[in-house]
Symmetry: C2
């Protein structure tokens, strides 16, 4: 029961999967595909196939593969949780295949859960990419905002920011107006400014009203709406945090939008490579 210095790590999410072959702490080979948990039925067979391609090695899995729509539900470890708590909470499928547990919080009676993000978060600290006490953001469909304290996940909040944007672009009153591309420019920043009101349902209707009154070209509406949603998210989070820097784990495009919104609130934004953070996190769990 252990991983040694050569092993496979799989970041297995809802829609995508990335396999890493790690040797002596370094990634020697990686592969990304769209075999997320929702498109897989036989996880054991997938694990066999991965080992056929990458070598017959121990395997550590993280993400939605450990949920009730994945291979097997791994329990949540309660925050505050660090590498030691995750390592102790591994769900062993067999003696060389394990799933990293998620983390839950109920601080101030506010329930929240994460599954998959924890590896990046703890890896970012382990690799020295962020301080042990820091505010981290992981933008996406469901944006995680995480308070790290003493190198552990101390507390976190998830905002459905990306999902709300996707819903509004597809359905309802604003859909036709929001078909344009999102760009980081004046319209986005005006949306961020409006987001400071933290009055999402009303500010969204303002997108319709601005059209009726000829105040904004529809070509800018998607950028404005993105700025409004991200800006409202950022405003709510920074209202309860005194960190002067937010460390962002995201791809450069979405990360850049969050960074601009954070800077519009007078704080600093620091973009981190989320793949490097994942690998560092997995190495740290294996080491412990």
């Amino acid at each position: 029961m252990g991983f040694g210095s050569t092993f496979l790590a799989v970041d297995w999410g809802t829609t995508n999967r990335r396999v890493f072959l790690i040797d002596g702490g370094a990634v020697v080979r990686t592969e990304r595909d769209d075999k997320g948990v929702t498109s897989v039925e036989d996880f054991a067979a997938e694990a066999v196939a991965i080992r056929e391609r990458f070598g017959d090695l121990p395997m550590l899995l993280a993400g939605m593969v450990g949920s009730n729509i994945g291979w097997r539900p791994a329990p949540y470890v309660a925050a505050p949780a660090g590498v030691a708590e995750l390592a102790a909470g591994l769900l062993w499928i067999d003696d060389r295949t394990a799933i990293v547990p998620g983390i839950s919080t109920l601080i101030d009676g506010r329930p929240d859960v994460m599954r998959g993000e924890e590896v990046q978060l703890l890896g970012a600290v382990a690799a020295g990419l962020v301080p042990a006490d820091a505010l981290l953001a992981q933008p996406g469909t469901h944006c995680k905002w995480v308070e790290m304290a003493g190198g552990k996940v101390a507390d976190f909040v998830t905002a459905m920011t990306g999902e709300l944007f996707a819903l509004l672009r597809k359905h309802g009153l604003l859909a036709a107006q929001l078909s344009g591309e999102v760009t980081l420019g004046d319209a986005f920043l005006e949306g961020v400014e409006a987001g400071k009101r933290r009055d999402l349902a009303a500010s969204l209707f303002g997108i319709r009203a601005a059209k009726m009154l000829g105040q904004r070209d529809d070509a800018d509406a998607a950028s404005y709406a993105s700025g409004l949603l991200i800006g409202t998210d950022v405003a709510a989070r920074l209202a309860t945090s005194s960190h002067d820097t937010v460390h962002i784990l995201a791809d450069p495009v979405l990360g850049g939008l969050y960074a601009a919104a954070i800077q519009a609130h007078g704080r600093n934004a620091h973009l981190i490579d989320s793949h490097a953070a994942f690998v560092a996190g997995i190495n740290e769990i294996v080491r412990q």
Copy 2:
């Protein structure tokens, strides 16, 4: 060009229509159907049909019939606007058929529009149902919050509260959890309490997390979500208003939910009959 004491009033919305035969200020006959503007192509023919059923009388129309998806777009009158401004801004189709204009606002750079609600609002004041200086709410798909001053619509904000709830029940992460009925009980009031945070995108994800952590039965999730959305709307509005009473123009069920949320914020709620307010408003416009 005028209406006399016997005329027809039509409250013609997106999905429904209500015709009133008014004589000497009183409703002598009314009829409601689902011939909203989206299901009508030939508005002139509909007007002829209404006159065949109700009598060959002058006709005053209000609502989405005056929009770009209705009979003909009636311009918006800028707030502050009262009965005199609406009467002066009537869009005449012919010498005995007119459409009431909508109202727009750009106060504090915040664009907003209404079309149809203005008749109820001014009617509520004209009939003495609410004071000339008051805060009114018209809950619905798009909830209007209206500051009346000196009997005029001074300013207003529209929140997409009802539409967001409908979108979340139909699509995305929470849809399966929100299929239950909304009732005015503990779960609704817990949602109102959470709404005081004005952090909608995060509080919504909490509905999912509460399920994963076994904190709330899914049977209560729809009521909680409704309380959260309405509560967030109420919290944002009352933060910028010092009125100790909110006058609500709505059906008793939805009006009751808003009333409970308003009371949870320590303010009074006063439910008004919206049909009586509409008739009073139309009478007042005709009189002027």
